[in-house]
């Protein structure tokens, strides 16, 4: 109770209305880091921690809607999910998983540093966590731009053409994604130079790690580019991922296709299973006589949009007067399963996988961006040496948030990349 009284007495001097945000400065009973309405630092810490946990609960529920959508649509169209999953580059996903796990480790270490008042090490840990975040985004930029280039888009915009899986030209999506990061990097670099020239020590201290963080985005982009094109030569499962060069050109797909073709045929014996499993290897499919007619129908117009495609597919469906929800039953009795790949590649069906993929990974990426925002704030405060053994709450809360972002990715990775 005594502390309450002291708090009341000291706070009575404050100008209410305004003085709130700068609570109780310079009061010995009420340290500068303790907000006026709390009695003790413990109470403040507990409140913040409970609030953060509750916020994480809302985050989990926020994502739960999309996990539900994933479960529903995967239960309805398992072949679509398994087929489309092969368009995702497992190596890039795995790299990103590792990067995020490592960043969670450095974040947790950072919390420990804050508690032990190791200010230098805390700054290093936060900068490392931030760098991992930007590497993650760099890799993601490669993944996204590559898929957009191929036309692997949400249902309504889906324009992937199995007969022409590596379109030449088109907008350079990677450049669009990178542009803001380039701008920010240049900005930070200028800030660094200016603060160096003006001798602003604190600003220089802030700008140095931030420049490293910005540059790490391009490390991620480079890493992604190498792995994406590496997949082309080494592993045929990723042969659809041929187009990895940043200028959007597609080097030598033909060779890769024929190679993949033979490989896939050798691997799978049962024709139906092969048709499903090999479907992303579009080159292989286009050479398969059983599916040729279907693919021709789909691919008559290379510029077809998702909507046109959908209408065409519907027309075809009504012509055959089939009733199945998942499969079109064609005249050929054995074609129920064999025509599954066709269903998979029909825009509306393949599109729903990518709809869910973009919603989930996109909102996850937005969370990464938000995390970068709060981590930068922490980095600046850590350089200012705001934290001590009695006041490390913000580091702890941001750490919790960062772990949940990591956790969500740990669920997304197998559910999206590893279901073939």
């Amino acid at each position: 109770m005594a502390t309450t009284d002291a708090g009341l007495a000291s706070d009575a001097h404050e100008q209410p209305g305004h003085g709130h945000s700068d609570h109780g400065h310079g009061d010995h009973d009420h340290p500068s880091y303790l907000a006026h309405h709390f009695d003790t630092p413990e109470q403040q810490f507990d409140s913040g921690k409970l609030g953060m946990w509750l916020f994480l609960v809302t985050e989990v529920l926020f994502f739960s809607g999309m996990f539900c959508a994933y479960a529903i649509f995967r239960a309805w169209r398992p072949e679509v999910f398994e087929g489309c999953s092969q368009f995702l580059n497992t190596k890039l996903g795995a790299i990103n998983t590792g990067v995020l796990l490592f960043s969670s480790f450095t974040m947790a270490w950072g919390v420990r540093c804050a508690q032990k008042e190791q200010h230098k090490l805390l700054t290093v840990m936060l900068a490392t966590t931030l760098s991992c975040a930007t590497v993650f985004l760099g890799v993601k930029a490669i993944e996204y731009s590559h898929k957009w280039h191929l036309g692997l888009l949400p249902a309504g915009l889906f324009s992937y053409d199995p007969s022409n899986p590596h379109p030449v030209g088109g907008p350079n999506y990677l450049a669009y994604i990178c542009a803001p990061f380039v701008a920010i990097t240049i900005g930070v670099a200028i800030w660094l130079v200016v603060s160096f020239l003006r001798g602003a020590k604190f600003q220089l201290e802030c700008a140095k790690p931030l420049l490293v963080v910005c540059l790490c985005f391009f490390v991620g982009v480079g890493l992604g580019t190498i792995l994406e094109s590496g997949g082309e030569e080494g592993h045929h499962e990723d042969d659809h991922a041929v187009v990895a060069s940043t200028d959007g050109a597609a080097p030598e797909h033909g060779e890769a296709h024929s190679h993949a073709d033979g490989d896939e045929h050798a691997e799978h014996e049962e024709p139906a299973a092969e048709a499903v499993a090999s479907l992303p290897a579009a080159g292989a499919m286009s050479n398969d006589s059983a599916d040729l007619a279907v693919l021709e129908r789909l691919a008559t117009d290379a510029t077809n949009t998702g909507l046109q495609d959908e209408l065409a597919a519907r027309k075809a469906q009504s012509e055959r007067s089939s009733g199945g929800i998942l499969y079109d039953v064609s005249d050929d009795a054995s074609a129920t399963v064999a025509s599954a790949p066709e269903n998979v590649l029909r825009p509306s069906r393949a599109g729903v996988f990518f709809s869910i993929y973009y919603c989930m990974t996109g909102i996850h990426a937005i969370h990464i961006l938000a995390g970068i925002g709060v981590l930068v704030w922490l980095l600046v405060r850590s350089i200012r040496m705001d934290f001590n053994r009695n006041y490390f709450g913000p580091v702890d809360y941001v750490g919790l948030y960062w772990h949940i972002v990591d956790m969500i990715w740990i669920y997304l990775f197998p559910l999206m990349y590893l279901i073939r």
């Binding site: 006026h36 309405h37 509306s348 919603c359």
Partner: protein, 589 residues
């Protein structure tokens, strides 16, 4: 009884009146001191003004609906004035937009934030004995999120209206030309406002309780707020992602909800009601809390079955998450699912009935003063009972097939939302108004408003039960002439209800000009907010409050000398603080 009869070792605690420097309303001046305030009381007052404006807007739209339905072919939106205002819109389109905006504004902008955000913000820390909520800045930002969400709704209204119904059902919401994206963005933003308020209250109640304030010494309003906050935190994110996916569906055609792209509209309904059914309890649970306080204080009797009321709030909060399917009995769920949801729906009536029985038992042999808040509370019990019991007709599969999407549903949820929440909200505002502004209102005016609201409300919505059971579908702009008498009755009722609400507003606003100064404890309440001056000082309490039983009225005495209620407390040492200017002479006794 006067202060003279105080036993030895006890003292009279009467905080008197606040000085302008202490009074939270006047201790700092200027528009910026309000715009950037972190004081929960000021934020609560700003919310009160905001939700009242939303209520006025939504209410005017409701009057528009009722006036249009006065004649079978409509009389309002097809007259010359509306044709001149919106020449390119058919009267029925205008009607669709008006009822949609009425619903959306009332649900998202008024009812959900009404009690928790407006009254809750003002009362939670004071009732708890805390100085503020745990996160004052988050509190202010949630108010501004509310403002932002409201602006989105106004933009939707001005851009091209909204005609999907407040439920945004697909596939219509993915194909209509009206401003679905603006409105859903608004609802998304408002959702975060609601989440942050709920989060703040949970943390405040968990960590900011002063010594002595145990869970079972908390006033029941706090239990109700706590249960509400649980729902706000757990359900609202699901609405958020649903609306986000709806926006993505409209812009990118993601094919999750839109059958055009092989999506599933019923999935949208499941997602939507997973939030929106619990949201119904966000609307009604805080009203239960208000009624528990009102009934007990104005009956001057300990609340009956404290723990049952407390636990039933939590039970309702938890049950609310597993009954959403009863909105979709006719949407094509499997028979077994509908039976399960129907059975679960009935279980919600148990904790609700427990509350009603406890309130009635509290009044039994109490010393009831028929003040304005008490009259509102009694009206609440009457109206909520009708609203709750008609809910059972809708939870029953066989009758719901007949009554689904008829005026019976409209009447049912208006009995719960208006007869329940709005009446409780008005009762709560009248009850705590002296505390909030420091002025007493005209009791006669308050009673008049309560009578008009009660009569007008019943006249509006009782006929709608009959209309619905005779087959009048909801959301229709025109109807068969045989329904005309009941519709006209309903319209007359709406006008009386409108007058009643304006009388209430007038009485409250007039009290600011000519109201008597309010004492600290005008009703003889025992909860902590009556221990501080009216209006409370900036830090709520001059000295840490002694936490006692919130429903022990034995030590609340009517002091004939002071002409007000005072509290008799065990004597304790005075903490040397600045002495209030108007310390009563006998306080040092």
């Amino acid at each position: 009884m006067s202060a003279g009869s105080v036993p030895s070792g006890y003292e009279v605690n009467d905080p008197g009146y606040p000085t302008p420097q202490e009074n939270y309303l006047t201790n700092s001046k200027g528009i910026l001191s309000w715009a950037f305030t972190l004081d929960h009381k000021r934020i609560g007052m700003m919310y009160l003004i905001g939700v009242t404006s939303a209520f006025l807007l939504g209410g005017l739209l409701a009057l528009g609906i009722r006036l249009h339905l006065f004649a079978p072919d409509g009389i309002l939106f097809n007259n010359a004035l509306f044709q001149w205002l919106a020449p390119d819109k058919a009267p029925n389109d205008i009607y669709n937009q008006v009822f949609t905006l009425h619903g959306a504004i009332m649900v998202f902008l008024f009812i959900i934030p009404s009690v928790p955000a407006a009254l809750g913000n003002f009362l939670v820390p004071v009732m708890l004995g805390a100085k503020d909520v745990a996160f004052p800045r988050l509190n202010l930002s949630s108010f501004y999120l509310w403002v932002g969400g409201a602006l989105f709704f106004v933009m939707a209204l001005l851009a091209s209206g909204l005609d999907t119904g407040w439920t945004f059902y697909t596939p219509y919401s993915t194909t209509t030309d009206s401003s679905v994206i603006l409105a859903t963005t608004g609802a998304f933003v408002l959702g975060f406002s609601s989440i942050f308020t709920g989060l703040n209250f949970i943390v405040t109640i968990n960590t900011m309780r002063p010594p002595g304030m145990t869970w079972f010494r908390m006033p029941l309003f706090l239990w109700a707020t706590y249960s509400t906050s649980i729902i706000q935190v757990l359900a609202t994110p699901v609405l958020g992602i649903t609306l986000l996916l709806l926006i993505a569906e409209r812009t990118l055609h993601i094919g999750i909800f839109d059958p055009e792209y092989n999506g599933d509209p019923v999935t949208f309904q499941h997602f939507f009601w997973f939030y929106s059914h619990p949201a119904v309890y966000i609307m009604i649970l805080p009203a239960f809390g208000i009624i528990s306080e009102l009934i007990s204080v104005h009956s001057h009797k300990r609340i009956f079955g404290y723990r049952f009321i407390a636990y039933s709030s939590i039970a309702i909060a938890l049950l609310s998450f597993i009954v959403w399917g009863h909105h979709m009995f006719t949407s094509g769920m499997s028979p077994i699912t509908t039976i399960i949801f129907s059975a679960l729906t009935f279980t919600v009536s148990v904790p609700s009935a427990i509350k009603v029985f406890n309130w009635v038992a509290t009044m039994f042999k109490g010393s009831i003063s028929l003040t304005t808040p008490m009259v509102y509370a009694i009206a609440f019990i009457f109206l909520f009972t009708i609203g709750g019991l008609t809910g059972l007709h809708l939870g029953t599969l066989a009758t719901d097939m007949h009554l689904h999407d008829t005026y019976f549903v409209v009447a049912h949820f208006h009995y719960v939302m208006v007869g329940g929440t709005v009446v409780a909200f008005l009762g709560g505002v009248f009850h705590w108004w002296p505390k909030m502004v420091g002025k007493m209102y005209s009791e006669a005016g308050g009673l008049l408003s309560a009578a008009l609201v009660f009569i007008g409300f019943n006249l509006t919505f009782l006929p709608q039960f009959i209309l619905g059971s005779r087959g009048m579908p909801r959301r229709y702009a025109t109807y068969d002439p045989e329904f005309a008498p009941l519709h006209q009755m309903s319209t007359y009722g709406a006008l009386i209800l409108g007058v009643g609400l304006f009388v209430a507003l007038f009485v409250l606003l007039m009290s600011l000009y000519n109201g008597k100064k309010a004492p600290a404890n005008p009703w003889g309440g025992a909860t902590l907010e009556w221990n501080c001056t009216s209006p409370p000082p900036f830090y709520n309490f001059e000295r840490p409050p002694v936490v006692g039983d919130p429903y022990e009225f034995g030590d609340i005495r009517w002091d004939t000398e002071l002409d007000r209620y005072v509290k008799v407390e065990p004597q304790r040492e005075r903490v040397p603080l600045e002495t209030p200017a108007e310390t009563p002479a006998h306080a040092s006794e």
